[in-house]
Symmetry: C2
Amino acid sequence: MSYSDFEDEVKTLTNLEEASKFLNWDEEVMMPENGVMPRSRQKSTLSKVRHEKLTSDNLGEIIDSIDENELDEDQKANMRELKREREKMLKVPGKLIEKISQKESECVDVWKKAREEDDFESFAEELRELVELKREYAAALNEGEEPYKVLYKDYEPYLSFERMEKILQKLKEELNPLIDEIQESNPDLCTDAFKGSFEEDKEMRFNKEIAQELGFPDEKGRLDFSAHPFTVGNSYDTRITTRTKDNDITGSLMPTIHEAGHALYNLGVPEKFYGTPRGQPRELSIHESQSRLWENHVGRSKAFSKYLLPKLEEKFPEEFSDTSVEDCYESLNQVYDDNLIRVEADELTYHMHIIIRFEIGRKLINGDIEVEELPEIWDQKMEKYLGITPETDSEGVMQDIHWAWGSFGYFSTYTLGSVISAQLYEKIEEDIEKPENKIENGNFEPILNWLRENIHKKGRLLKTEELVEEATGQKPTAEPFLEYIEEKYSELYNL
Amino acid sequence: MSYSDFEDEVKTLTNLEEASKFLNWDEEVMMPENGVMPRSRQKSTLSKVRHEKLTSDNLGEIIDSIDENELDEDQKANMRELKREREKMLKVPGKLIEKISQKESECVDVWKKAREEDDFESFAEELRELVELKREYAAALNEGEEPYKVLYKDYEPYLSFERMEKILQKLKEELNPLIDEIQESNPDLCTDAFKGSFEEDKEMRFNKEIAQELGFPDEKGRLDFSAHPFTVGNSYDTRITTRTKDNDITGSLMPTIHEAGHALYNLGVPEKFYGTPRGQPRELSIHESQSRLWENHVGRSKAFSKYLLPKLEEKFPEEFSDTSVEDCYESLNQVYDDNLIRVEADELTYHMHIIIRFEIGRKLINGDIEVEELPEIWDQKMEKYLGITPETDSEGVMQDIHWAWGSFGYFSTYTLGSVISAQLYEKIEEDIEKPENKIENGNFEPILNWLRENIHKKGRLLKTEELVEEATGQKPTAEPFLEYIEEKYSELYNL
């Protein structure tokens, strides 16, 4: 047996996972409503078969037969990533994984209904069982460790919990007073530059045009509508979705730019490594840094408004003939200080929403609080950090699908994404002369090339912290993000 | 171990196959062009895993542990179908299957290019190797049997080769003089009732409306455009495609009706058997009888023209204000006696195209002729049976993808489909009072219900010949088709 046997096995695992991912895309975007049952069976078989193969003795023997000293760096990365996943799965009983996956899908179903009916009680019942199972899962993986840390590591194996915690702490300290200042300021920002009436077909064509100009090519992807924007794919074929929001073209356009950022990352990993971890993008925080770099540092910059407005005027003359670049920029960057909903938050208050979820989720998983206490604690923290209190649990503790999905430890990766994107963009501003001039002219290639070179091409060659350090000279750190935020909002709100 | 273990294994096999089928739909309809390589890897892994599981010792032990006397009829059908497939696969070396599948996809690639460039030589080279492999495959399955018969049985395990041959022979004898008569007649049939200019979106909406009225519901399916019309799906979720043909709305509409016929069959198999052979439609000839019943016996009837024309007038007033029902009926049923292409043939000459392929394919697989002789023999038979000779191999022996795909023994199932559809429709005319009145009023439910009851609901409970016999009182036979054809064309051409 040799390394190439190992790679064959790894590729089989990838193919099963990819098959499942594209079936999932189909489910969200194309599938007729009656297809849910057979589709969930198909996906569950794929996941069962993949688990069998990942934990098989055969794969174990192949791994044992390989002398890692004889491998090159790419091959070593493949071994590292695969062994980590395999060792994790060997620790968790297959039955427990099945139980969790079943409970998660039940919990999501109940959550959907409970959120509609503002019925926390019925959600709580399911969630309690799921939390119990997730605690069991954490104990199976690492008995002595803090359970929440174990779950976090599932999502971010190579960005330490301590570093993440320090970053959140720093943001909490610095963003809180800034939010207070903004709430006390008396600005008169334009909020409706992008409002208007847009025909769906035309809106979609406009979104496609912008995505293409950012570097998302037709022959390697698709853009469709779906209920929740998302990205699925690989170096060859990556698909994004956006949504329509009545009467505001940024309702589709900002998700398109965000998802295009994810897609450009997928498409930028070298094709020749396809099927192995080396040929996959790194996980959540880095992936999110790509989407947020394009959405926020590019898409919400004044330069981008200068680029965008003439295009909008050309395609929708009736809606944009009276709009100024300043209007666009202000509308894209206003702080919604009375907003209760994470996914509708601005770049600033967003992270307070995350910190609330991090603090509550941690206590819950670690057993310091129980499910029934969630609504009260939620409302207290909302009041304390954002000065607002939700009137219902639907727009409070039940607003996100993540906990129903069993994704505890996940939320902080969103903030890490913002933080890393600012760190990368700071370096881009050093390496590329006046990137804002390029953006204004619709020349996004220098930025894309920088990301290709410093992030995309690396796939999973480096661990997360190393990857950021090689690209920027520093491990993930909050400062560039805080500087960016303070500069932007001080100017906007005359602080 | 028990029957329920057996069913679990069978369902796993189904899920793998279904996953692959929907990925294939995606590939044909949605996938960006660059996605071919990873998609073919995904599908090949699914097929490899399915083969492993189908031929596993584990499944063998489960099968051996079951006492078939204790099973009900549905369960017995599942055992029969699964054992047949497993025993077949156990006889063929896995390596040979892999080689065939690889050669098939190479051969299709070469065929595409060769057909474009009318270059039979380069196609012949690949085809020769594929034919050799298919002969090997037939020998592995059944050493002493005529190889072509073995391959046919792969497609139609339960409709005997002898019966099929007798049917083709009968058609050849009776259709030949009829074609001569028509060629000598001097008719003045309308040929352009459906010509016009149709906007693609509107054309698609019209197709969807008709498919829905036939009984193809939105929540259980989709209709899209693709290069070649096809159907994929199960009782819950079945998708059809059609194509556009410039300036003739039947270019999309007839394929839609045909594929809707396939879809109604899939959707009519009881959901409760999903995942087992009992919950699958029977194979090609029966499936094709469903599509052809709707396309020909319903869609090309005078009653259907009466139903269709007012709808066309309403949606496309400029194109149809001067059209008569008679024009529609004639245009849908004209005999193209100088047509070289199978897929563009009418209901009559079509079967001569099939007979040519059957006779040549049989000789080729059995080693009575070799690949290099194909063009000459093809042209001779075209001249003899249809009185026309292709000028190029592209519109001659290379027109169909089937042989490049390795589908030898397949073509006759199309004719069987026509023959069985006529047999079923003859019975429908006995059981339903004046079905043409129902069609004229757009009331397709009585016909659909008859098919549901007599064909769809049965899934794979019965073998093919039994299924036809239970539905019509006779095993598959040519007479009803010949009567239908003679009646229709005698009237149209005043013979």
